[in-house]
Symmetry: C2
Subunit: 480 residues, 2 copies
């Protein structure tokens, strides 16, 4: 490998030397995003946007299969609507971008650019829902939201981001709870089987729950630097919003009742998660199911007779089954291209040169392991399918092993402090669920309560902070 | 038909008595949209949004096939960026919603909620484009935009709408012009072959062109009330934006040159066009290629043994090939359902009752003609395909005939005034291209210049207004 070729990759900081710089280098050099003129805003470039479109397609399929329908609610919410639910406005008001003029007119009431859409959706549901026959209402929207953030990082926390937000209304408390959990299940399935990211799921603490929710469920993933990422949340809103927005239905028994509602969302933040769970010192490692290109074909000695024709033929065949890129640019050497596509995280690289053509084979290289193998031309279509599956399962296992190696139990505060100081990762510890103890953990270690897992196996423990009786273990971690 | 069943449809105003009320009745009763809390904003309900998603899929396919890539640019544009191109800001400033506060902070510079994205896109292109090797840049985005409108109607003119906006940069003037025309061709193909809407295409007058463009191409459709709808525009921006945003590239000859750029868009306004071109007194008539449901199956006497099983079986089979709805609600009569699905414009209704099952057939009813026919069960899959094609072609022809019947030539101002007063529609007339003459037509008839068609057949005419020599005919119409 020439000096020039190496440079391309060595311009990326080493993961274990400066993870934060590594992240910034990778997203810029892989051409995922750029910084917008207004601080805290990003431009999602085509390669990054294609990842999001693949995520959208997979999620949308799952939402539809469970009876949800897409709709579109307005970007603008009158301040008075946002203020109806007290906790909700308290949580979001500090982050709202306010519109105060339309054209040359000063507005009489300030308008919020949606930070989330509960208020506007609920104001419409109160018009639409009349009878038990109208329930459940299961709507989702794909849109942009704005939250005025002080400290931002592309994908992870930006003042505008893209997401889906589901908003549902139900006749009973039980149905709303089932919906909340069903969506959490969809998110977990999506994270693990599409993004190859293992996630912990559970309930958020009262302090960490969504502003206005009764209960927030969350999925939490561990990044390679040992910090956690909240990767998706599903909120049981109880009747909080139904009451303040007056969403009532006439039940079978002739009584007017408030509905029970939920909301849930995942965002372009997941792209950041994919990068920080799977990437390495050579750049992105993309999960095959969302990679914009699953296979890149690189002609070797492409000026030689037959090489370009052959690669075009392979490209045409594989394109029927996979997302394929043929890189036949004559301005770059094969070595340069190898590095560039590694940086961009394409799962499989195929090298096709005159000698390969003569032996009726291609050389395949896996992005995740670097393993090289010769594949007979006739087996290519089938072998790619197997390889993509194997890459998915391998990177999932790697991520799971990393999380397991970085999940520790702490029996007391000293252990918790020591683990957080040395190794980061998740710490599982008994907790009395007192907010003061939670605050003390945060103050002494920087870690926050990530979630309280569903399975609990110690009904007779002691709180890691105060030592009082505790029947609940929780996961703590420093988080993005 | 019972009184009750008739009511459902008779609550819609008659098209030829009050077209505007008919439109409002149809969009509300077909459950396409609702009005949002802020005047001029709409909520797109699932049935309306599904039409948009089908439009998006078809258009996106065409953009990709011609080498365009999707990206996402920020919602917010600093006022200083918007002001760089003089004509552009003059055109859009009166419609901008201004953000002046983020959280609790007053902003030092006002921020525009994008009314269109030329300014933000060009500011990024000036960073990204360096060399002739970077060209052409062919990006598109699907997003929301905000234009503070005084007088609004759902889909046709709303303060927020959804659209796609393409933004491209090219090395030469010729390439930019080719791109602008290529997109106009895609739009026309989409309108005619997907939406079944015949369109006139041509150049906009200087007065009607996009703020900042050198030349705007447009497609114009005729609604059933005789008013025109601008259904899509493609702008050749020349070097206007490249110069003020400093988008330069190093050409093969070693010279720094400004790029040539284009932009183009269609929006949810097209849904309004579909309604007003194809609808009738019974409600929507949806073009098969974008109808959320292409076929609705309605069981007749569904309490009788075997009926629901049979309709379910038909549903399962047809669903593999088409978008199908099975309406097995037991709270409504078949007659009610017939009316409801007619109102919602589903192209084909299948009625399946005990006698049909016995004769091994179903009854199919076309939404466009009302024609009823018995179809042997075994032929159903094939016949549906033929019927859908035929419905598309029939409603296209009907719309074309309507347009042709309502397109008139005017040799002088008296004729123009008389036609506009009596029949509406398009008037084709010679025009000297003087803005004063254009203004006089508008003042005297309410009609605006819709487009100057590409084919011109009279190099030796006289302007319909001033009588001076004119070699150009233009289409004039009252417009939405």
């Amino acid at each position: 490998m020439s000096k020039n070729q190496e440079d391309f990759v060595t311009q990326i900081a080493k993961q274990n030397e400066d993870f934060s710089q590594w992240y910034t280098d990778v997203i810029r050099k892989a051409d995922l995003v750029d910084y917008a003129p207004i601080k805290g805003f990003m431009v999602i470039k085509p390669y990054g946007y294609a990842i999001w479109e693949n995520m959208q397609r997979e999620m949308d399929k799952r939402f539809r299969a469970t009876g949800h329908k897409n709709a579109y609610f307005p970007l603008f919410i009158p301040e008075s609507l946002l203020q109806k639910e007290a906790e909700h406005v308290e949580g979001f008001a500090p982050e709202v971008a306010w519109v105060t003029a339309g054209g040359n007119e000063q507005l009489t009431e300030r308008i919020a650019v949606r930070p989330t859409s509960e208020a506007i959706v609920c104001s419409m549901y109160s018009k639409w829902i009349r009878s038990y026959r109208d329930l459940p209402v299961l709507y989702n929207q794909w849109c942009n939201v704005v939250r005025w953030e002080k400290s931002t990082r592309p994908f992870l926390r930006t003042s505008e981001f893209l997401w889906q937000e589901g908003h549902t209304a139900h006749a009973t408390e039980e149905e709303a709870e089932q919906e909340t959990l069903k969506i959490l299940g969809i998110y977990k399935d999506f994270a693990e089987n599409i993004l190859a990211i293992p996630v912990l799921t559970g309930v958020k603490s009262q302090k960490e729950k969504f502003a206005g929710a009764v209960r927030t469920y969350s999925m939490e993933a561990l990044m390679l630097d040992g910090k956690a990422l909240q990767a998706g949340t599903s909120h049981n809103l109880g009747q909080h919003f139904a009451k303040v927005f007056d969403i009532q239905y006439l039940d079978r028994d002739g009584q007017l009742k408030n509905v029970w509602s939920t909301s849930w969302g995942v965002s372009t933040r997941l792209i950041g998660g994919v990068i920080m769970v799977h990437g390495d010192d050579r750049g992105l490692v993309l999960p095959p199911k969302i990679a914009p290109s699953q296979v890149v074909i690189i002609p070797v000695a492409q000026h030689k007779e037959g090489v370009l024709d052959k690669t075009k033929e392979i490209f045409d065949n594989l394109s029927k089954l996979y997302r394929v890129e043929l890189d036949d640019r004559d301005t770059y050497s094969p070595g340069w291209k190898f590095n560039e596509w590694e940086l961009k995280g394409v799962p499989i690289r195929l090298e096709v040169g005159p000698r390969d053509i003569q032996s009726n084979q291609v050389v395949a290289v896996r992005r995740d392991t670097g393993e090289k193998m010769a594949i007979p031309m006739g087996e290519l279509e089938k072998r790619i399918a197997v390889l993509l599956e194997d890459i998915h399962s391998n990177i999932y296992k790697k991520a799971l092993a990393h999380r397991e190696m970085n999940t520790h139990a702490a029996a007391n505060m000293e252990e918790l402090i020591s683990i957080m100081g040395r190794k980061m990762g998740f710490v599982k510890a008994m907790w009395c669920q007192d907010t003061a103890c939670e605050a003390e953990i945060k103050e002494k270690t920087g870690a926050t309560t990530r979630c309280i897992p569903f399975e609990q196996d110690n009904a007779d423990g002691r709180c890691v902070v105060c030592g009082k009786k505790a029947d609940t273990a929780a996961y703590f971690a420093k988080a993005y």
